[in-house]
């Protein structure tokens, strides 16, 4: 059975003098090797040199704080239920009196973990978040030696008050308008009308 038309019939014939010299074949091989010295390098010296990435690159997550430094996340669980890889887990707790400047709402995430080995960086958590708390950033998840170290807790995810993570590229006017656009909400009304029409016909 012939699978491709690239197959060649092997003929075991006596080699000619030129072929027995091997020299032309060696030179041809060398020429291919030398050609690569002259080419542009395919690699870069990371991390000294970095490749340009898209503005909406989806890398390591950040849990944002609000302007006053209180954590925005309220452990509503929408990111976890939206996560196709089931990478996110959390345990909620009630905010006590006097913690108002630490947590924004009366409920907060006492533990919040993302398993970076499970995460596929799809950004669904970011899209599901009603509190604008979780964002994917242009930071790259570093490699580790232990699998356990890839489970990122709040210590790695929550931004520090002094060193804020800039996510303004992900909060442009276009993005805000897109979120507010009623037509984009999975075309709720159109779908509704479609089902209703179908039902009436039925």
């Amino acid at each position: 059975m012939q699978l491709t038309n690239r197959s060649k019939v092997v003929v075991k014939k006596e080699m000619t003098l030129m072929e027995r010299l091997y020299l032309p074949a060696i030179l041809a091989g060398m020429w291919i090797t030398i050609k690569h010295f002259l080419r542009k390098k395919a690699t870069i010296n990371y991390p000294e040199v970095k490749r340009p990435i898209a503005q909406v690159y989806r890398g390591m997550h950040v849990l944002k704080r609000d302007e006053k430094g209180a954590e925005r996340c309220t452990a509503c669980g929408l990111c976890a239920v939206a996560c196709p890889a089931e990478a996110i887990t959390m345990i909620a707790e009630e905010r006590k009196a006097g913690e108002e400047n630490l947590y924004r709402e009366e409920k907060y995430a006492a533990t919040y973990e993302i398993n970076m080995l499970r995460c596929i960086f799809c950004g669904d958590c970011e899209e599901a978040c009603p509190k604008e708390a979780i964002f994917l950033t242009d930071r790259i998840v570093p490699s580790e030696f232990l699998r356990n170290d890839f489970v990122y807790g709040k210590d790695k995810l929550v931004e520090s008050v002094s060193q804020r993570v800039d996510v303004s590229v992900r909060q442009t006017k276009e993005v805000a308008n897109f979120k507010k656009d009623n037509k984009q909400q999975h075309n709720i009304n159109d779908l509704k009308q479609f089902f209703k029409n179908a039902l009436i016909k039925h």
């Binding site: 309220t74 239920v81 009366e106 409920k107």
Partner: protein, 339 residues
């Protein structure tokens, strides 16, 4: 008997049946949503107006249409009545208006609320409401109240459906809470923050269509869609003991009554079962509770779509039949796809 047509589907129901119940007898998508009506509670209904329907023909004898939408939970059927629910665009518009009114004072704190995921107001808003609020004024706000050590009242979320009041009236010998004040100031409360304390008071949590009355023992423990509902029972001296327990891992986070397809409690349960029996050893587990696949609670749950025991019995029956013919069932006999 009266013949009534709802959205083109005709059914014959006994005299005195309400339009809502007639619709529920037909079932399916034509059933109007109800926030305050509760079939298990007498005199419930008539407050929230979400169940409004359009009556296009009053009856056989008087075929005039009713001048405005009527509350289907309080309007009884007449012979030859014709009703429109989802087939009338005007009515859907009117219902969207009702939802808007219900949401006027309702806070958007679903991410914090324990009811989120099994909240009837959420469903109603999603299915019938508008995408955005038009309300610009200050919402009325109340402080949270502890009603006893097991129930928490968030008056902000209340839609004044009176279901909990009816539960206390009809299920318990006396009630200590009710609706205070009138109009915009109306609020569910106990008299000078009295404690609701009797054996069946916990049922107010189950009848509450929103997150106004919540279980304090479950407060912020988990979102409902991370827990797995399992039907279980125990010998209880005060109630039927038939409950639904909500697992997270091996822990029982919460015990509730079982609910039917309209979110109504099937059998009331006592406070002892609800609040104090949170060990797996307290319960005899019957099996996973069926949750609609459209519910967020079914997310990440892998309920077997067929009853395995029934299937095994079926296979045995077939095996017995085949024994005479000496045919052996192969490995795949238990696979439902091979049926």
């Amino acid at each position: 008997m009266a013949k009534v047509t709802i959205d083109g589907k005709t059914i014959e129901v006994p005299d005195g049946t309400t339009i809502l119940n007639a619709a529920r007898m037909i079932g399916g998508e034509i059933v109007p949503p109800a926030m305050c009506y509760y079939s298990k509670l007498k005199t419930s209904g008539g407050y929230c107006r979400t169940c409004i329907v359009k009556v296009t023909k009053g009856s056989e004898k008087d075929p005039r249409p009713m001048p405005k939408p009527v509350a289907s939970c309080r309007t009884t059927v007449m012979d030859g009545m014709e009703v429109q629910n989802i087939t009338s665009p005007d009515l859907l518009e009117a219902r969207a208006g009702v939802v808007e009114f219900l949401l006027v004072n309702h806070p958007l704190d679903c991410p914090v609320c324990d009811q989120a995921g099994e909240c009837h107001l959420q469903d109603l808003g999603y299915e019938n409401g508008k995408v955005k609020t038009r309300y610009e004024f200050k919402r009325r706000t109340f402080e949270m109240i502890d009603i006893g050590d097991k129930i928490k009242l968030h008056m902000n979320r209340c839609i004044l459906c009176y279901r909990c009041v009816k539960v206390s009236d009809q299920l318990t010998p006396y009630r200590v809470h009710g609706v205070l004040n009138r109009g915009e100031q109306a609020e569910i409360s106990t008299y000078i923050k009295n404690v609701i304390d009797n054996e069946f008071s916990g049922n107010v949590i189950d009848v509450c269509p929103v997150g106004a009355l919540t279980d304090k023992t479950f407060r912020f423990k988990s979102r409902v869609w991370f827990t797995k509902p399992v039907d279980a029972h125990r010998d209880c001296p005060t109630c039927s003991g038939k409950v639904r327990i909500w697992f997270k891992g091996a822990d029982v986070l919460r015990v509730t009554a079982r609910k039917d397809e309209y979110g109504e409690v099937v059998e009331w349960i006592c406070n002892n079962c609800r609040f104090d029996k949170k060990q797996v050893s307290d319960w005899t587990i019957e099996g996973p509770a069926h949750i609609s696949k459209h519910s967020v609670i079914s997310a990440n749950h892998y309920e077997t779509p067929f009853a395995l025991s029934a299937l095994k019995a079926d296979v045995k029956k077939q095996q017995k039949k085949l024994e005479g013919k000496k045919v052996e069932l192969g490995e795949g006999a238990l696979n439902p796809n091979n049926k």
